[in-house]
């Protein structure tokens, strides 16, 4: 029963929860990674809903939901960019969960005998991991902001790292 609700109402649940994340970012003046990931999660859920509403239902090709596949692929690109550059840990989990989701789509496309339940589990449940990671990440960010104040949102680029190591380096004027 619970499983059915989690599987069938995923997009609705995600729209509501990711909208709450976005609202949480407002008063906390959250940093760029939090904003970006909250927006991506919201857009994924909202995009899926809009896509299915526009297409009049799920677009199925070789038993895989192509609409979800396209939205998830775009989301993965955004998540990877944030995960590779953010000064945070939780984006790694969010990106990893997205990879699992895409793996589910891929298996469904490539393997005809994969069960519908297994596909649903692989394609849907990682998104709940993303919501949990996002919630924990926002909480940790808020705690850090309170305890140490402003801190870098992004990891230092190699150019800045080299510059800070070379104390005699004179930058252009």
């Amino acid at each position: 029963m619970v499983m059915d609700v989690l599987l069938e109402q995923r997009d609705t649940i995600h729209v509501v929860i990711s909208a709450m994340f976005l609202l949480c970012c407002l008063p906390a003046k959250a940093a760029a990674p939090e904003w970006m990931l909250s927006a991506i999660l919201f857009c994924v859920a909202g995009g899926n809903e809009l896509f299915e509403a526009g297409a009049g239902g799920p677009v199925i090709w070789r038993e895989a939901n192509v609409g979800h596949l396209a939205v998830d692929l775009l989301a993965l690109l955004g998540m990877l960019v944030v995960a590779l550059h953010a000064n945070r840990m939780y984006p790694l989990w969010i990106a990893a969960a997205q990879i699992v989701t895409l793996a589910g789509h891929s298996f469904r496309l490539g393997l005809h005998d994969i069960s519908a339940f297994a596909y649903a589990v692989m394609a849907v449940f990682p998104s709940y991991v993303q919501l949990m990671a996002m919630a924990l990440g926002l909480a940790r960010h808020a705690v850090r902001r309170c305890s140490i104040g402003a801190y870098p949102s992004w990891r230092p680029t190699s150019r800045h790292r080299d510059a800070s190591l070379d104390l005699t380096h004179a930058p252009k004027w």
């Binding site: 590779l84 840990m89 402003a150």
Partner: protein, 185 residues
């Protein structure tokens, strides 16, 4: 850029001491810019980080250089780093930004006021300032060192892959256990 004559006969120590006196009386805006200069950022980068024009950045730097005898920018940066290093434990100005060298400790350390009380670290709430890694927050490590080093991109991709594989394994084991339990009962 012209190099001034203060690098003549004066000993470096006394020259820097003169700079330190100037640094004590800087305005907040000049201090913000010098933080970035101390990190060897270019004018363009500083302007982007602080959300001001490049000419405004140059104006503030020139204001400091004019008072310190127009040293080269690299020397100004080095002097300010030294100033931050030396002033950290004995700062007597409550409004002074929490100083820290880029390579060492967090500058979010508390400040010691004149009456001996410890003031909380000064926090710049400007999102631009924080996003670009101000001196005050460079020492705080959020991610493990392996994910923040020179090969951070590769290690992060490896970590993402490992987490994804781990999730799949956990899901497979979990489903296997559920299936086994279902068959049992």
């Amino acid at each position: 850029m012209k190099d001034s004559g203060i690098e003549g006969d004066e000993k470096p120590g006394s020259r820097e001491h003169g700079h330190f006196e100037v640094f004590c009386s800087l305005t907040d805006k000049q201090r913000q810019v010098l933080h970035h200069v101390a990190e060897n950022r270019t004018t363009k980068e500083i302007a982007h980080a602080l959300g001001i024009s490049e000419s405004a950045v140059n104006q503030r730097i020139e204001g400091v250089r004019g008072r310190t005898g127009s040293p080269p920018r690299s020397e100004l940066a080095r002097s300010y780093r030294l100033y931050l290093q030396q002033e950290t434990p004995t700062s007597s100005v409550a409004s002074r930004p929490a100083p820290s060298p880029p390579e060492e400790t967090s500058s979010a350390a508390p400040l010691v006021q004149e009456d001996g009380a410890v003031a909380p670290p000064r926090v710049n709430s400007s999102p631009e300032f924080g996003r670009n890694g101000t001196v005050q927050s460079l020492g705080h490590r959020v991610v493990p060192k392996a994910l923040d080093g020179p090969n951070a991109g590769l290690t992060r991709v490896a970590a993402i892959t490992a987490i994804a594989v781990g999730m799949l394994l956990v899901a497979m084991v979990g489903l296997g256990v559920v299936r086994a339990l279902t068959q049992l009962f």
